[in-house]
Structure formats: structure tokens, C-alpha cells
């Protein structure tokens, strides 16, 4: 390989236009090594995406095992309560640490953030690749821990159970979560610097698409909160291996201290999951309504508000744990503050549909599903933040249903919506939209059948993490399990529609939905280094200059009209 000396003067050669038309980031270099050692944010993002989707399949299988076991009271498919305990622990740990936390920022964010921003890559491409391999190490260790005896602690690793259980895989999985934490920190760091430093001229803070605001807010939480989890898990490992009493009362420790440490990270982690999802929803709703997002600044600031409030509400996980009444009261009061920016966002999204031109594309159906599910997920948070009702509902299926509505019904549905939204951009192929929409509906119905039942199950008193239960709860469990099968079918259809696009999907136009943000200005799939020249930043939510083009089957942006227009 010969190195071409960089031109020292004169205009930079427009490398992208010099390449053949078929050249893009997927075909620019070839061979396995070109992927393993790639520094391209899009390729790293794609590798993240496949890894996360693989983990989602694994976590989903454990979810189905859990649901199937709960079809009947007593043994159903396993005689051993320990096996069941390992299933739900694995389901939780995989879904939280390997799927939802990295899904939107690390997978979709990596691919989209630099292009949307108008940059050629993230600020630290090597760090980006390193954080992916950290993720791989963590994931491998997590799976290895299964072979080393598994773990039955629940994904929360509450002490002293986690420091005294005899399951052999506890230390490997704690190490895995520790490593995954660093992967998450590095991604966050990279995004913060990228957003601060790599914005092209004209891309002021308030010109940024809301997805970038959301990713930025998320990245701040990742950088600030995740180290606390790392230290906590390290302390747990120290206690387990060399018996230094930090959390175990028989050695002079305090188990409630662990809960404080754990939730100091894990509550903000909930917003690491939901904030980028909200960003995706802002994009999908604005683009498919083809009108400016309603209350841009309120949405942007509510992201930052949520990120800040998220650090001071962790105690609401501990209302029954022996925390003082005063602490409970304060945490209850502060917890309600999160409801306000969340409500503001929902109202703004609904208002964005008003007087729009709504196209019911597959991603839009996911966004509408999100609105429905997130509203339920958010509102059912109210009885949990309220002191007296939380005492009854805490640690029951009501809580399980609530956080599934938020983490799965909202964060994951938004991730799947985002996947549909940017799939044509990422792979240059259109999927079957009819099949995609039908799959969305089936997932939506299955989801509600599965989890709405669990609200009733929980408020009727069914505790969570139960292998066996009283017969009077069975009818709810059966309905819930049927719902989970419907959902599994829906996700299979989604996979068929997306993978089908590789075989019979038509070539995607640069701008299939009529978007204005910068990623829709470059080809689908994007060229190797995104932009030939510094992109011109317009108003990313002004759709009046977007026109349908029958020939390409996509939209085009009339830039001259915009320049003449009065949009400043």
C-alpha cells in the first residue's frame, strides 16, 4: 500500500465524487480484517447492531422460558427452582446490560450521530473500536459465566444474597458488567466530545436534530453515573473473594448501602435507555408528519431536565427497604419531578401531529405504538412514586409490568422503530413495508396482552421472581404467556421483513421518508467518509422544501427554495 501525500495547498480533492457509484462504506474495503480493524463509525455501529440483536435473541429466549415455566403453578418445564432463577436473572442481565443500554447509543447512535451532525466520524475512532471490543469481552464473559456455574442473583445483585450464593458464575458476570460499564463510558465520552467539537459551521446547538440532543443527554449520564456502578461491582467482587465486609452485615457491612450504590447508577441507567428512545421518536414523528417539531426547545430542555433529575430519585426503589420515613418522603417528592418533562414531551409529540401531513410508514407505526405504550408506562409510574401505594405494589408484578412498558414497550420499540427508520440508510435496501407494519401491530398487541395483565397480577398481590404461585393467579399468567408467544411471532415477522430486504428489497433512495437532517443528504448507504464537502446545515425540521420524486421513489430537498425562503 502506498501512501498518498496530502495536498498541502489548494482545495481538498473531492475524493467521494472520484469513486465509482457503487462505492460506499460497506464496499469501500473488503475482507474480514477490514471489519475487525475498522475505525469507521458506521461499521463499528453495524457490528454493535448485529451483536446487540444477537443478544436480544438470547435474552428473548430466556424470557420465553420464564413465561412458559409460569404457565402453571408448580413445575411446568423445569423441576428445579434454581434453573428458573437463573433464567430470569439471565433474561434481566442480558436485556439490560447487553441489549437496551447499548442498543440505541452504541448501535444506532454510532451509525447515525456523526452523519446527522455533519461530521466524518466520531471524535475518537480508536476509542470507539476499543469500546466495541470491551463490549464483546463483557458479552463473552457473561456467556462464559453460564458454563462456570451460572448465577441466580437477579440482575440487581442484591447483597448479602449475591455475596453468599454458591452459584459459580457470579464473579465472572460481575466482571462482565464492570467491563460493559467501561464500554458504555467510552461511548458516552466519545459522543460528548463529538457533539461539542465536530459540529460543522452553521450547526449551532439549537439547529441540532433532537436525536442528537437526546444522545448528548444520554452520554452525560453514561459518563457520570456508570463509574459508580463499576466501583460498586468491584466492591462486591472484593467482598466475595477476600471477605472484606462492605455490604454483608455478618462482616460489619450494610446491605442497604449496596442498594443505594446500585440504584445511584441503575436509576439514571433507566434514562440511558429511554432518553435516546425519545430522541428517535422525535425524529420519526417530525419526519413522518412532515412538519416542524412542536416546541423544539421544550423537548430539548426536557431531555436535559430528565438527565439531571435522574440522579436524585434513586431512593424510590427503596421505600420499603428500611430507609427512614424522611428520606422516603423526599425521594417520593423528587421522583414526581421526572413526570413533568416526560409529560411535556408526550404533549409535544401529539401536538406535532396537529396540522401535519402524516404518513403512516412502518417507523411511524412504531412511533405511534411508542406513544401509547410510553403513556401507560409513564402513568403507572405515578402509583409507584406515591408512598402509600408503592408499599403495596413494590416488588410485585405491577413493577415488572411498569418497567417493561418503559424499557421494552418504549425503549425497545423505539429502537426497532429507529432500525426501520434508518435501515434503508444503513443497508441501502427498502424492506417490505406492509409486512413491517403488520409485524409492528402483532408486537403491539402481543406486548399489551403480556404486560397489561401483569399490572392486575401485581396489584392483586403476586410477588415478582416467583417460580411457584398460588392457583388463583394462574389465569393472568396464562394470558400473559400467550401474549409473549404472540410477541415472539411478531418479532420473527420483523426479522423476515428486514432480512428479506437483502434478497428482494428495492434499492433505497437517499431520502425515503422526506427527512431534512443531514444523514438524508448523503447516499444510501453513505459513502466511506460521509461527506465530500462540509455539508450545508439547513433547518432540519422545515419540510416545506421537501418534494417527492417519482423517479427515485424518494424525496429531494429544494435547497434553492430554502435559501430564498425566510427560514433563518
Amino acid at each position: 500500500m502506498t501512501t498518498v501525500p496530502l495536498p498541502t495547498s489548494g482545495p481538498i480533492r473531492d475524493t467521494i465524487e472520484a469513486r465509482p457509484e457503487s462505492d460506499n462504506y460497506l464496499t469501500h474495503t473488503r475482507g474480514v480484517l477490514s471489519w475487525i480493524f475498522t475505525l469507521d463509525h458506521k461499521r463499528i455501529g453495524v457490528m454493535y447492531m448485529w451483536s446487540v440483536l444477537g443478544s436480544f435473541l438470547l435474552g428473548g429466549i430466556f424470557a420465553l422460558l420464564v413465561r412458559t415455566e409460569l404457565l402453571t403453578p408448580g413445575p411446568t418445564i423445569t423441576e428445579d427452582a434454581n434453573t428458573y432463577n437463573q433464567w430470569f436473572t439471565l433474561h434481566g442481565a442480558i436485556m439490560v446490560f447487553l441489549v437496551i443500554i447499548p442498543s440505541i447509543p452504541a448501535a444506532l447512535g454510532n451509525i447515525i450521530l456523526p452523519i446527522m451532525l455533519g461530521a466524518k466520524d466520531v471524535a475518537f475512532p480508536r476509542l470507539n473500536l476499543f469500546s466495541y471490543y470491551l463490549w464483546v469481552c463483557g458479552a463473552v464473559l457473561c456467556v462464559l459465566s453460564l458454563a462456570m456455574g451460572g448465577f441466580d442473583t437477579g440482575w440487581t445483585f442484591y447483597t448479602p444474597y449475591s455475596t453468599t450464593t454458591t452459584a459459580g458464575g457470579v464473579i465472572p458476570v460481575l466482571t462482565a458488567a464492570f467491563i460493559l460499564g467501561f464500554s458504555s463510558i467510552f461511548t458516552g465520552l466519545n459522543f460528548v466530545v463529538t457533539v461539542h467539537k465536530l459540529r460543522p459551521p452553521g450547526m449551532t446547538w439549537f439547529k441540532m436534530p433532537l436525536f442528537l440532543w437526546a444522545l448528548y443527554a444520554t452520554a452525560i449520564i453514561q459518563v457520570l453515573a456508570t463509574p459508580v456502578l463499576g466501583i460498586t461491582l468491584l466492591l462486591l467482587i472484593v467482598e466475595r473473594t477476600v471477605n472484606i465486609g462492605i455490604f454483608n452485615p455478618t462482616m460489619g457491612g450494610d446491605p442497604v448501602l449496596y442498594q443505594h450504590f446500585f440504584w445511584f447508577y441503575s436509576h439514571p441507567a433507566v434514562y440511558i435507555m429511554i432518553l435516546p428512545a425519545m430522541g428517535i421518536i422525535s425524529e420519526i414523528i417530525a419526519i413522518n408528519s412532515h412538519r416542524s417539531i412542536f416546541g423544539y426547545r421544550f423537548i430539548a430542555f426536557s431531555s436535559i431536565a430528565i438527565a439531571m433529575f435522574s440522579f436524585i430519585v434513586w431512593g424510590h426503589h427503596m421505600f420499603t427497604s428500611g430507609q427512614s420515613a424522611l428520606m422516603n418522603t423526599l425521594f417520593s417528592a423528587i421522583s414526581f419531578s421526572v413526570a413533568i418533562p416526560s409529560a411535556v414531551k408526550v404533549f409535544n409529540w401529539v401536538a406535532t401531529l396537529y396540522k401535519g401531513a402524516v404518513s403512516l410508514t412502518t417507523p411511524m407505526w412504531y412511533a405511534l405504538a411508542f406513544l401509547f405504550l410510553f403513556t401507560i408506562g409513564g402513568l403507572t409510574g405515578l402509583p409507584l412514586a406515591t408512598l402509600s401505594t408503592d408499599v403495596h405494589l413494590h416488588d410485585t408484578y405491577y413493577v415488572v409490568a411498569h418497567f417493561h412498558y418503559v424499557m421494552m414497550g418504549s425503549a425497545l420499540i423505539a429502537m426497532v422503530g429507529g432500525l426501520h427508520h434508518w435501515w434503508p440508510k444503513i443497508f441501502g435496501r427498502m424492506y417490505d413495508e406492509r409486512l413491517g407494519t403488520v409485524a409492528c401491530w402483532i408486537i403491539f398487541i402481543g406486548f399489551n396482552v403480556t404486560f397489561f395483565t401483569q399490572f392486575m397480577l401485581g396489584s392483586q398481590g403476586m410477588p415478582r421472581r416467583y417460580y411457584d404461585y398460588q392457583p388463583e393467579y394462574q389465569v393472568y399468567h396464562v394470558i400473559s404467556t400467550i401474549g409473549s408467544y404472540i410477541m415472539a411471532f411478531g418479532f420473527t415477522l420483523t426479522a423476515v421483513s428486514l432480512f428479506g430486504s437483502f434478497f428482494n428489497g428495492r434499492k433505497a433512495p437517499a431520502n425515503p421518508w422526506g427527512g431534512r437532517s443531514l444523514e438524508w443528504q448523503c447516499a444510501s448507504p453513505p459513502p466511506f467518509d460521509n461527506f465530500a464537502k462540509t455539508p450545508r446545515v439547513g433547518d432540519c425540521y422545515d419540510f416545506s422544501v421537501v418534494h417527492w420524486d417519482e423517479k427515485t421513489g424518494g424525496y429531494w430537498v429544494d435547497e434553492s427554495a430554502e435559501q430564498k425562503g425566510s427560514h433563518a
Binding site: 412532515h290 420515613a325 409529560a343 406513544l371 403513556t375 405515578l382 401505594t389 403495596h392 411457584d468
Partner: protein
């Protein structure tokens, strides 16, 4: 907004009071609803009422969001060939302030309603009757002031009861859904829960619990008794830590307490193993079997012979007799753990007295006289 909330609050309280007086003829727990199980404690109506207030607010906002979304999505759907306009509002500051302030006022209202009913839950009356509760993997033990002990919880009706909770191993949580009471039990510290139930449930029938049953079945007039769960994950037997709460009128409760404290003393020595043995085994069944199948601990089948064969039992060894070893295993289980079993057993020190331990050893010695599946005493029928 706050005042309207309060008026909802008031109206609902009145309605509740009316309902209560209507039911005065047949006083009893509030019936189960779509959301809540029956409410049998004095705090239950307050909690249910709080949930009702919140739920109605939720129904309203849910309907608002879903209806508006559906209407807008249909009314403003894009028609083919239609140009995208720019004649729509970008923002509207008064409107946005309005929908920021209204939720703020509402959540403050919800907080206040929840805080008020929480104070009732949190603060036990001074004259409360204390019952000590020990949670361990995976059993409950309830200890009464006169020294009586039970595996199910018995409480007097019409009297505030304070539970003094402690754990001998990991985190547990005591939860009685019908009373809306829940409290984590943290090793290394005492926690408290209290409730008052005014409606007696009556006593369970005699010998209804099958000592070998894997779950607590609803045989004990479950419609009346109140379920008691462990709600903090504690391992293998977590979902088996469920028991019942029986509420007795004060006279029967006092009588029950006396009987319960003396039950083992009243049994003659020669009847000890078949009268007390199976009853005590009910506390061991989560981990030990009678039929030779492996549990978390070793099966009791043939245990006496196996213990005799252990290298540390015998003359001049650590334990002179097998009785010694079994006794130590009950009181200090970690002293000699036999592989492959883990050191998982909690101590029963202070819960089983000498006579009870004699009963357990006698039961182990005479296991062939019991049905290995049900644990029933086989000679009882023969004697008849």
C-alpha cells in the same frame, strides 16, 4: 386543581364511609376489585382510595393522549401528491407553560394524598401488640410474647399488631396483600411493620397441612385467611416462603397462644416422635425429603444409618453419638457440612427446644412408620 383534588378526595371518603355504614350489618373486609385484592386492614381503604385518585387521573390523560393521537393521525394524514406546508404552529409558549404547570400541580396533589396515607402505614400506635418475626431461607417463624412459636401468623382482631422483623441470613420482605403491608427484612438490623385487622378469619382446620406438600394449598379456608408472601428475592425457596395469616377474636387468640406455647410439653415422651415429629418437619420440608430424593439438604430417609457411618461420629471422635451430630446440625449447621451439600442451613437455635430436638431425632429413627410421600403416621390407622 388542588382544591378540586381535595374535593374528589372528600367525595370519595364520604362514599367510602357510606359504603362502610351500609355494610355495617355484615362487617368484613372490603371486597376485591379489578385492581385490588380484598382489603382487610384499617389502612387498606386509605391506600385503595389513593390508588383510585391516581388511576382516574391516569385514565383521563391516557384517553386524552390516545384520542388526540388517533384523531390527528387520521385527520391530518398525508394524501398523495399533497405538498408539505409550513402553515402550522412551531410552538406556543402559553400552551406549553400550561401543560407544564398542570402536571406539576397534579403530581404535587398526588404526592400529598400518598404522603398522608403513608404516615398511617409507617407509624405504629403505641399500644400495639408485638410479635417477633424471624425470616430465614426459606421459612418464617413467628414468636409471641409468652414464648409460643408458629409457622403461620396468628393475630388478635381489633388490636394494632406490630411485627418486629429480623432476618438470620439474606434480605427477605414480608408482604400481606390483603393488609397492604410490606416491609423488607434486612439482616443486621430490626425493621417494623404494623397493621390492624378488625375481622376474624377463624382457625384453620385440624391437620390440614400436608407436611410434604410442595406448596401451601388453599385448603385452609383460603377465602378467609390472608396470604403472606416473601417479596424480596432470596433464592431457591423464595416462592415457597408463603404462609397464612389467621385473625382470631381476642379470647380465642389468647387461648391459642397458651395452647401453642405448651403444645409440645403436653405430649407424652413415647408419643413425641409421631405427634411432634411430623409437625416440626413441616419447617424442614423445603430442603429435606422423606423419600430419599435430594433437596437442598440431604434426605432424612436412612439418615440415622448414614450419620453413624460418618467418620467424625463415634467413640473418641468429635461426636460420641449420632444424636450429638444431629443436634449440632440443628443448632450450629455449619460445624460439619457433608459434601456435596453447601453450608446453606440456618440455625434453629432458640426456635427448637430440647424436647423438640428429641422429637426430630425420634422421627428420624422411626421414619419407616411414616408414609414417605405424605409423611402420615401409618400406625395411626392400625391402632384404630
Amino acid at each position: 386543581m388542588l382544591t378540586s383534588l381535595q374535593s374528589i378526595n372528600l367525595a370519595a371518603t364520604k362514599a367510602l364511609a357510606l359504603a362502610a355504614s351500609a355494610q355495617a350489618g355484615q362487617a368484613g373486609p372490603t371486597p376485591p376489585t379489578f385492581w385490588m385484592p380484598k382489603g382487610a386492614s384499617t389502612i387498606a381503604p386509605g391506600v385503595d382510595h389513593t390508588l383510585d385518585v391516581i388511576n382516574w387521573i391516569c385514565y383521563f390523560f391516557f384517553a386524552l393522549v390516545v384520542v388526540l393521537t388517533a384523531v390527528f393521525a387520521v385527520k391530518y394524514r398525508h394524501r398523495k401528491g399533497e405538498r408539505f406546508g409550513s402553515d402550522h404552529p412551531h410552538h406556543n409558549t402559553p400552551l406549553e407553560l400550561f401543560w407544564t404547570i398542570v402536571p406539576t400541580i397534579l403530581v404535587i396533589g398526588i404526592f400529598v394524598v400518598g404522603f398522608r396515607s403513608y404516615l398511617d402505614i409507617y407509624t405504629a400506635p403505641k399500644n400495639a401488640f408485638d410479635i417477633k418475626v424471624t425470616a430465614q431461607k426459606w421459612a418464617w417463624s413467628f414468636q409471641y410474647p409468652n414464648g409460643a412459636q408458629s409457622d403461620d401468623l396468628y393475630v388478635p382482631a381489633g388490636k394494632p399488631v406490630r411485627l418486629v422483623l429480623r432476618s438470620s441470613d439474606v434480605l427477605h420482605s414480608l408482604y400481606i396483600p390483603d393488609f397492604r403491608v410490606k416491609r423488607d427484612i434486612v439482616p443486621g438490623r430490626y425493621t417494623y411493620a404494623w397493621f390492624q385487622c378488625d375481622y376474624p378469619t377463624g382457625m384453620p382446620g385440624k391437620d390440614v397441612r400436608d407436611p410434604n406438600a410442595k406448596t401451601v394449598e388453599g385448603a385452609l379456608d383460603a377465602a378467609q385467611a390472608h396470604a403472606l408472601f416473601c417479596t424480596e428475592y432470596c433464592g431457591t425457596g423464595h416462592s415457597k416462603m408463603n404462609r397464612y395469616v389467621y385473625v382470631l377474636d381476642e379470647a380465642s387468640f389468647n387461648q391459642w397462644m397458651v395452647d401453642q406455647s405448651q403444645w409440645i410439653d403436653k405430649i407424652p415422651e413415647e408419643e413425641l416422635y409421631f405427634k411432634a415429629g411430623p409437625k416440626i418437619f413441616g419447617r424442614c420440608v423445603q430442603c429435606h425429603s422423606l423419600d430419599g430424593s435430594n433437596g437442598i439438604g440431604p434426605s432424612w430417609k436412612g439418615i440415622v444409618d448414614r450419620v453413624k457411618a460418618y467418620p467424625f461420629v463415634g467413640e473418641g471422635k468429635k461426636y460420641a453419638t449420632y444424636q450429638d451430630y444431629i443436634r449440632t446440625s440443628i443448632l450450629a449447621p455449619g460445624d460439619y457440612v457433608v459434601p456435596p451439600y453447601a453450608n446453606a442451613m440456618p440455625t434453629f437455635k432458640g426456635q427448637l427446644n430440647d424436647k423438640a430436638i428429641d422429637a426430630v431425632i425420634g422421627y428420624m429413627e422411626h421414619l419407616d412408620e411414616f408414609d414417605p410421600k405424605t409423611g402420615k403416621y401409618l400406625k395411626a390407622d392400625a391402632a384404630k
